[in-house]
Each structure stands twice: as C-alpha cells, then as structure tokens.
C-alpha cells in the first residue's frame, strides 16, 4: 500500500469524521434512539466487504463461510436497522397530527 493510498484514506476519514461530528451534534435528544438505529444500519455497509469475501475465488471453504456469516450479520443490521428506524420515525408526531 503506497503512502498516497494511506493519505487518501486519512483525508476521507478526517473529513467524514468532521462532517459527522458537525451533523450529529445537531441531532436533537428527541431523535437520539433513531439516530443510533440509523447509524447502526448504515455501518452495516460492511456488507459490501463481506459480499466480496463470500464470493471471491478461494482455496479453502472456510473463507467464503466466514464471509457468508459476515454477510448475514451485516444484513440483519441493515435490514433490521432500517425497519426499526422507520418504525420509530413514523411515531414522532407534532400536536394536532397525533389525533
């Protein structure tokens, strides 16, 4: 891995961390539980790394099996996380709309 690759990754990480900090600081206490469910769902994007491992050419069976377990657990987070975030967000209503 070249130094350029490493630095490019660090750029991305630093900017995302900064932007994330700014945005997440603005999320009101009201939405903190949905926020956790949401970030949990999107961090399930590790499913893309798991997919590559599960589908790649491999000499041993162990690697694709590990990949498949990783795909399954990441998918549970993605699917379950989005479903539950949506369920929660649907419930938040202002006065008047609640009736």
């Amino acid at each position: 891995m070249s130094i350029d690759h490493i630095l490019a990754g660090l750029y991305v990480f630093s900017l995302a961390a900064f932007l994330g900090y700014q945005i997440i600081s603005k999320v009101p206490q009201l939405l903190h539980t949905p926020l956790m469910a949401f970030t949990n769902a999107i961090s399930g994007v590790s499913v893309v790394a798991s997919i590559l491992i599960a589908g790649r050419k491999s000499d041993t069976l162990l690697i694709p099996i590990l990949g498949a377990v990783a795909v399954a657990s990441a998918t549970i987070n993605v699917v379950g996380g989005f479903v539950i975030t949506d369920r929660m967000l649907k419930m938040f209503k202002k006065k008047g709309a609640a009736k």
């Binding site: 891995m1 690759h5 490493i6 990754g9 991305v12 990480f13 995302a16 961390a17 994330g20 945005i23 997440i24 603005k26 009101p28 939405l31 539980t33 926020l35 956790m36 469910a37 949401f38 970030t39 949990n40 769902a41 999107i42 961090s43 399930g44 994007v45 590790s46 499913v47 893309v48 790394a49 798991s50 491992i53 599960a54 589908g55 790649r56 491999s58 041993t60 990949g67 498949a68 990783a70 795909v71 399954a72 657990s73 990441a74 998918t75 549970i76 987070n77 699917v79 379950g80 989005f82 479903v83 539950i84 949506d86 369920r87 649907k90 419930m91 938040f92 209503k93 202002k94 709309a97």
Partner: protein, 480 residues
C-alpha cells in the same frame, strides 16, 4: 457510457479498466453521499423519514454495485447470507417492542462487531493484508481487536439489559489491573503482528484476547451506566468498520465507520456529561456496587407521606400546570400509554401538561422520547433538561413516573453523594410532587432519595401502569 465514464475517471491509466469496477466504485461513491445527506435530514423530525429513505437507496445501490464486481466468482454463499440476514432482520425490526429498544441496539452492535471482525479474519486467512504491507496489516489487526471487543462487550451489555445477567456491577480484586494488562497485551500483539505478519498463532491469540477483553470490560459496569456503554460500543463498532475500510481501500466503509464512531462518541459524551462523570469513572468506577449502596445509608424512610391514587387525583384536579418526569421505571412497567391517558385527562381538565426528559432517563439515549412517541405523545410536549428546568418552580404538580436518580436533590446538596454534581431535574422546586414508585427501594445507583421525604411529596406505591390507570379513572369519575 460506462466506457466514457471509465476514461474520465481513469484518465492516464490503462484504457482497459473493467467497466464493472467503475460501476462498483461509482455506486459506492453515490451511496456515501446518500448516507451523508440522509444523516443530515435526520437532524429534524420533519425530514428524518425521508433522510432514512435516501440511506436505504444508498445501501441498495452499494450492494447491487458490489454484486457486479469482477472478483466475484460464485454467488451461493452471498445469496445465502443475504437471505438469512433478511429473514432474521425484518421480523426482528418489525416485532421488537419499543421498550426493548436498548436490548435490540446492544444486539445489533454485537452483530456489527462480529461482521467486521469476521471480514478481518477472512482477509488475514486469504493472505491479503500480509501482502499489502504494514499499514494494511495494522488496520486489519486493529479492526479485529475493536470488532471482537464490540461483539462480546455488546453481548454482555445485552445480557445485563435483558436481565439474563445481574445488572449490578461484577467486580473482583485486581480487575482493573487485569483489564489494563490484557489491553496492553492486545496492543503488543498488534505491534508484533505488524512487524511479523506470518505468525498465525499470535493472530489467533489476538482474536482470543480481544474477545475476552470485551467480556471483562463490560463486566464491572452497572445497569444504570448502560447508556454510556452502549454509546461507546457503538463508537467501537464504527472505528472497527473504518479500520476495515483502510485495510480494504474502501472509502464507503471509512466514511460510514467515521459517522458511526462519531455518533457513538458524541452520544457517550452527552450521557457522561449528564451524569457528571468521566469515561474513566464509568468504565472503571463500578458505580452502583454494594459499597456505594452501603455508603448511602438505607432505611431512613420514616417520614414518607404515602397517598392513594384517589389522593393524587384530588391534587391533580386543582392543578393548573403539571410536568411529567418519566424514568426507566416507566419502561419497565410499560406505562407509557397509561401516562399518556393521564395527560389527556389532565388536558381535558384544562391543565397545561408537559414532559421533562432527562438525558440519561432510561437505558439508552432518547429512550423516553421513543416510548412516549409510541404512546402518541406529540413531540412538542417533550422538553429537554435545560429547556424546562426553570419551569418547575412555577409548576403546581410534578409527577415522577419511575425516575429516581435524575430527580435526586442530593446531586445539588450533598457533596458526599456519589451523584453529586450531576445535573438533575428540579422536581423538588415544584409546589407539589407525586412520585409513582414500586417500593421504597433505592434506584440503580443505590442512593437514598431525599425528594421522597420532602413535605410537598406524596408517594403512591405500586405498579406504575395500574396506579396511573387508577388516578385517571378517579379524575374522570370525580369530574361529573
């Protein structure tokens, strides 16, 4: 089209770049943008749902874009994993009750940690990080440490929240020293593996040490401190995902990991600030252990004024303004609907009703808000600590539903108290206080609450849900 895109994106490099790689990279790029926009829209309850839908589109795009990747030679393991995950994930998301949300979040952190740790282990077994140099090897090793700690630590947190394990801190002599030693050991192994990657024995040792560390780190932490722990584990899961992004040269993983890690850290900071404690104190303080309970001096509940639900109703009938303070007890008793019913009856009587939500009420950030939203309480009636704390002195009656430490005046008055300095809701300032509580047992912090013996306080003992139902019935009955 793809060819054009390829030449634009890869100018100067070989023209023979595979179009599918472009599809893969562009779809992950667009997914990253959609995640960021979605997160931004989550800052406002009006736009939050649309923000989430954008993230769903992003995720679908990322998965589809990855499925066309030219490295993939067989699909059966992938499809198997996706199907199993979906079949478990959808019912889990749909059926879990809102009161069990902390448990479900803890479990999902365990799943996230496991997925990332497995990715790291598979990469090592495939021999990739060893070939890609020290930085890749360091990233993979770090990823596995954080992923494994998140996995077992979150399972422990789940066990404590679900009361499969005792909620009290479990401590033994030399515990902190042992944890520090194990952590140092894991970091030492990381360094050795970066320098000498081809030592599988050390690699497996590292996996084992990290798994044990996750268990031990959460062992001494009490139930009431779980909000901070859940947030920290969230943060670890994010860091692990970011590290895997570095190892795999995958930006979407780096970005999502940074967002996840950042949100966990921010929430953990908010939580520990709301308890006036440092991370170190939460992690190593074994708060709420027997020692702290003994120091509180139990059993001086002599001058408690006990009332019936009917007494409470009489008091509430003449109140102009009421603030309801929910706590973990409301979640345990599943009393959110009964609370809403009482608030509706009060409003029908012309009373101004508001809710005061302490940041650490419940077992996770925003726990009370979600429960009250489930019971159809409009969110503009929910107020954060700073927004409502001045209002208590102008309030006729405060109703405390299963909250304890967050309304304990000892936090302001007794420097010796373990919770001294913690910002609390000034319930003691209101003209009258009704406390709904199961018994006189102290809260999770194990501290006596002098709010309960104040002259204006009326204690109504019993199951919060039933008590609230009786008060509401008495209010309606007397109204005719």
């Amino acid at each position: 089209m793809i060819g054009l895109l390829a030449s634009v994106l890869d100018e100067g490099a070989s023209a023979a770049i595979d179009g599918r790689v472009i599809v893969y990279r562009v779809s992950l790029f667009v997914a990253s943008l959609l995640f960021l926009v979605g997160l931004r829209m989550l800052t406002n309850p009006e736009t939050a749902r649309r923000g989430m839908q954008m993230a769903v589109v992003g995720m679908a795009l990322g998965v589809v874009g990855t499925l066309v990747h030219h490295d993939i030679v067989s699909y059966h393991w992938i499809i198997g994993g996706l199907v199993v995950g979906t079949v478990i994930g959808i019912p889990m998301g749909l059926l879990i009750p809102m009161t069990k949300m902390p448990e479900r979040i803890a479990l999902s952190h365990a799943g996230g940690g496991l997925a990332v740790a497995l990715v790291g282990i598979a990469e090592y077994l495939a021999g990739h990080p060893q070939e890609h140099g020290k930085f890749a090897m360091g990233s993979v090793t770090f990823e596995i440490i954080m992923g494994a700690i998140t996995f077992t630590g979150s399972l422990m947190a789940f066990g404590k929240l679900a009361e499969l394990l005792p909620g009290k801190p479990m401590t033994f002599p030399g515990q902190n020293a042992m944890n520090v030693l194990l952590l140092a050991g894991a970091l030492g192994l990381l360094v050795v593996l970066v320098l000498h990657p081809h030592l599988p024995v050390l690699f497996y040792l590292l996996v084992g040490v990290s798994l044990i560390l996750g268990v031990l780190l959460v062992l001494p932490i009490g139930g009431a401190d779980m909000p901070v722990v859940i947030c920290l584990l969230n943060s670890y899961a994010g860091l692990a995902a970011s590290a895997s992004g570095f190892a795999l040269d995958n930006n979407v993983l780096i970005i999502c990991g940074a967002l996840d890690g950042g949100s966990g850290l921010i929430l953990a900071l908010i939580m520990s600030k709301a308890m006036n404690r440092s991370f170190a104190n939460v992690l190593f303080g074994a708060f709420g252990s027997d020692a702290a309970a003994a120091a509180g001096g139990a059993g001086k509940g002599g001058n408690v004024r006990e009332g019936t639900p009917e007494d409470a109703a009489e008091l509430l009938k003449i109140a102009q303004s009421v603030i309801i303070v929910p706590g973990y007890g409301m979640a345990v008793a599943q009393a959110q609907h009964a609370t809403r019913d009482l608030a509706t009856a009060l409003a029908a009587n012309g009373t101004n009703v508001r809710y005061a939500i302490h940041p650490v009420a419940g077992r996770m950030p925003g726990h009370m808000n979600v429960l009250l939203a489930e019971a159809n309480v409009p969110y503009d009636q929910l107020f954060e600590l700073d927004a409502i704390n001045e209002e208590f002195e102008r309030t006729d009656v405060s109703i405390v539903v299963g909250a304890n430490d967050v309304v304990n005046p000892a936090a302001k008055t007794s420097p010796g108290s373990p919770i001294f300095g913690m910002p609390i809701l000034n319930v003691d300032k209101s003209k009258a206080v009704i406390v709904l509580k199961r018994s006189m047992k102290p809260g999770f912090a194990g501290i006596e609450n002098e709010l309960f013996v104040l002259p204006q306080t009326m204690m109504v003992f019993g199951d919060a849900k039933q008590t609230l139902g009786k008060i509401t019935a008495a209010m309606k009955g007397g109204g005719h």
